[in-house]
């Protein structure tokens, strides 16, 4: 029997193929036509997509979502909030920006706005800054915070919080060792030796998998000594006398046993465990170390900025910012939302949802912020002497993102903590590595 005979079978097979083709084309049709972020239909207000990262606990994300989703601007403008996880956040943004499905406004990493500005994806905030100056809000921001976000083409973003590296210490251990918090590099060594005598790690740090505190604290000390990775012209300039001096200081700490040699491979979890179990006397950290260790007493305190061998004071900080993208339904609506949001974000500090430092003096002066002595000290004493990653230059460039946390800088920090490499050689290798990624 010939299986291919029969008109009825031919019709049903064609019919089936036609149905299958129609079913397959439905998803294609549905995926067509998305357009810019949150454009509403004709005649309605703009809906701005706002992306944010979890800068605090779940309560922060919930509060931010509630705040943003509740926004109602001129001409019916609305905003929708989306939380983007920190893991691979940059790749998430990069894909979205490249495919024009990204947000109209977002928070982000310190160099993110600069990188996307290079790609033409950022809407410069000059109009917004001008309006903030006009309204007087601009003067409420801590000095230098806006300047760090200015490029030749304009402001790539506006500041909203600070991330800083400060010297933390555990008071009970220093008391047990019979010493006070250090004020300069010589007293730092003295305190470190005293802590070592009582069986405690003098200077806790970490440069293992995913731990950036080690390399950032080395840079903080370089800045403290009037050095840094870049010259005033913004070009890599690592092999300087001040930087060599700083590395020699770290070699001294290693020789004296003040730095734990195992710290080369410590992860952030290892370091936090040592802080928690009171094995560390001092170390560079974020100002909110006490909260991140879930401690409520005042045993973890922040010291004052150290005076370097030449009288310099300084540390590393990042001005975290809010940026606007060109992929927006309305630039005017974006600016209006951002101006509004900058006035509302005090809620986060009022409710204790953010451990980062605020950029607005009015928030610093709030009683809720003032009651945390560590945070207050960080803003009052450390922020005025803090410099960005670009130090000694004041201009941040997008390529810095590849340096901070990059392979060259991590390897350099590990070499420094091992204490076996000649400082000049280590700095020369670092400079070569930075030049290759910039």
């Amino acid at each position: 029997m010939d299986v291919f005979s029969g008109n009825s079978r031919n019709v049903s097979r064609r019919g089936f193929l036609g149905f299958a083709a129609a079913a397959a084309s439905l998803p294609l049709l549905a995926s067509c036509g998305s357009g810019a972020s949150g454009a509403s239909g004709s005649g309605g207000g703009s809906t701005l997509k706002v992306w944010d990262m979890p800068w605090g606990p779940t309560e922060y994300t919930n509060a931010a979502k509630s705040l943003v989703n509740g926004y109602s601007g001129q001409n019916g403008a609305k905003a929708t909030y989306q939380s983007i996880q920190w893991a691979n956040y940059y790749q998430t943004f990069a894909s979205a920006v490249a495919s024009k499905t990204g947000p109209a406004i977002s928070s982000g990493g310190g160099f993110q706005a600069f990188q996307f500005a290079d790609q033409g994806a950022i809407a410069y905030a000059d109009n917004l800054v001008a309006s903030l100056k006009k309204s007087g809000s601009y003067d409420d921001f801590l000095p230098g915070t806006f300047d760090s976000l200015k490029t030749d083409k304009g402001y790539v973003a506006v500041p909203w919080q600070l991330d800083m590296r400060v010297l933390s210490y555990r008071k009970s251990l220093l008391d047990k060792a019979g010493v006070e918090a250090p004020t300069n590099w010589d007293s730092f060594v003295t305190v470190g030796k005293a802590l070592k005598k009582i069986g405690v790690i003098g200077y806790g740090t970490a440069t293992g998998a995913g731990a950036l505190i080690g390399e950032q604290s080395i840079l903080a000390m370089m800045i403290n000594n009037g050095g840094g990775l870049f010259g005033e012209d913004g070009k890599p300039d690592c092999v300087t006398d001040r930087n060599i001096e700083t590395l020699q200081f770290f070699q001294q700490l290693s020789r004296e046993g003040i730095i734990d040699p195992a710290a080369v491979s410590y992860t952030s979890a290892n370091l936090n465990n040592d802080w928690k179990s009171k094995k560390i006397g001092m170390g560079f950290s974020v100002p909110s170390l006490k909260s991140s260790l879930n401690e409520t007493d005042d045993d973890i305190q922040i010291g004052s900025p150290l005076e370097g061998p030449h009288g310099d004071k300084g540390t590393l900080y990042y001005v975290n910012n809010l940026m606007m993208y060109t992929n927006t339904p309305s630039q005017q609506a974006s600016e209006a939302f951002l101006a509004w949001y900058l006035d509302q974000m005090k809620d986060y500090w009022q409710k204790g949802l953010l451990q980062a430092l605020p950029v607005r003096k009015s928030i610093v002066n709030m009683p809720e912020f003032q009651k945390d002595a560590n945070n207050l000290k960080a803003v009052k004493e450390w922020q005025p002497v803090a410099k960005t990653f670009a130090a000694r230059s004041t201009k941040i460039v997008s390529a810095l993102n590849a340096v901070d946390g990059g392979q060259a800088f991590t390897s350099f920090a590990q070499q420094v903590l091992q204490g076996q490499t000649d400082p000049k050689t280590a700095l020369a290798t670092l400079q070569k590595g930075i030049e290759s990624v910039m």
Binding site: N10, F116, V264, Q414, S436
Partner: protein, 316 residues
């Protein structure tokens, strides 16, 4: 009943019978059945092409450009490949990859084979042992890496404390470059031996007991039986497991990255870790993808060599 075997063959496709003058072959007819089958299979083939071929072609294009995560960048031809081959960091990573792979493959195979042979003996509780021995492979590598980190990472971790008590002094398992490399390799063997044990167990169970019986009658020793019977008879499966484990080791990112991050000072950076860092930390997508392609090329060569061994290992 008519047997189809008695009917002359139908010349359905127009082929001339042998010896007859050719009036020309009839073209192959496109049957409705063929069209139907093609149409039904087409979506799956399209999906496979989209999921496999498209990313591969895209990656190849990226390797020929100097791009970042956001943009493709300028065309540079084979410069990225030349740069990789001239980069000391590439060769250092290649060296570690070789060491990591050799110890991972042969270390896990030796232990897996030994345990597979042991499990064939009748020991009490062998069933429970079989399950427990699978655990290193079954447990997610994130959990294993966290456990190993807890065991060896700090001066107050259990293993360094034990080492100190035994008189070895302060042993920095993850901070000393040589020890970190050794620790990573041992970790890889630990999580891989259950796979080798399973593969070898399956191969051993296919060996006929009569062969061993005959050898025993002929007076063969246990060592002779192992080298002359067991190993040759499981050779095919052995080569297959070596190929698989080689691929697993060369492509293994989480085992290394979660334990050491590729450090200290790049001592445990393998090619795949290097490629990751170049792309996602240095933001040089073209160069990173070129490293990945070079790695893939070497893997293909190794696989071909081992496949040839498989063919040679057929015993008649």
């Amino acid at each position: 009943m008519t047997s189809t075997m008695l009917r002359p063959a139908k010349r359905l496709h127009g082929t001339s019978p042998a010896g007859r003058g050719s009036a020309g072959r009839r073209p192959r007819r496109i049957t409705r059945g063929g069209v139907t089958l093609t149409a039904l299979v087409a979506p799956s083939i399209l999906l496979l092409l989209l999921l496999n071929a498209y990313p591969l072609i895209n990656a190849a294009v990226q390797a020929l450009h100097n791009g970042t995560l956001i943009g493709e960048g300028p065309y540079v031809g084979l410069d990225n490949f030349a740069k990789a081959l001239a980069d000391p960091a590439f060769w250092k990573a290649a060296q570690f990859t070789l060491v990591f792979t050799l110890t991972g493959v042969f270390g896990s195979w030796v232990i897996g084979l030994a345990l597979a042979l042991l499990m064939r003996t009748k020991i009490p509780g062998s069933g429970i042992f079989k399950v427990l021995l699978l655990l290193p492979w079954v447990v997610p590598v994130v959990v294993s890496a966290t456990s190993w980190n807890w065991l060896v990472a700090t001066s107050s971790s259990p293993v360094p404390i034990l080492a100190k008590a035994l008189g070895f002094g302060d042993v920095l398992f993850l901070a000393n470059p040589a020890l970190a490399a050794l620790t990573v390799c041992v970790f890889k063997v630990w999580i891989s031996f259950p796979f080798m044990m399973l593969m070898t167990s399956a191969a051993l169970s296919s060996v006929e007991p009569a062969v061993y019986e005959a050898a025993r009658i002929d007076g063969a020793t246990k060592k002779q039986m192992f080298t002359a019977i067991t190993l040759p008879l499981i050779a095919r499966s052995t080569y297959i497991s070596w190929i698989l484990m080689t691929i697993f080791c060369v492509n293994d990112f989480p085992t290394i990255y979660l334990l050491t991050g590729g450090g200290p000072v790049d001592a445990t950076t393998s090619l795949v870790v290097l490629a990751y860092r170049v792309v996602f930390q240095n933001f040089k997508t073209g160069y990173g993808v070129a490293i990945a392609f070079l790695m893939t090329f070497v893997l293909i060569v190794v696989s071909v060599v081992l496949y040839r061994q498989i063919r040679k290992s057929v015993i008649h």
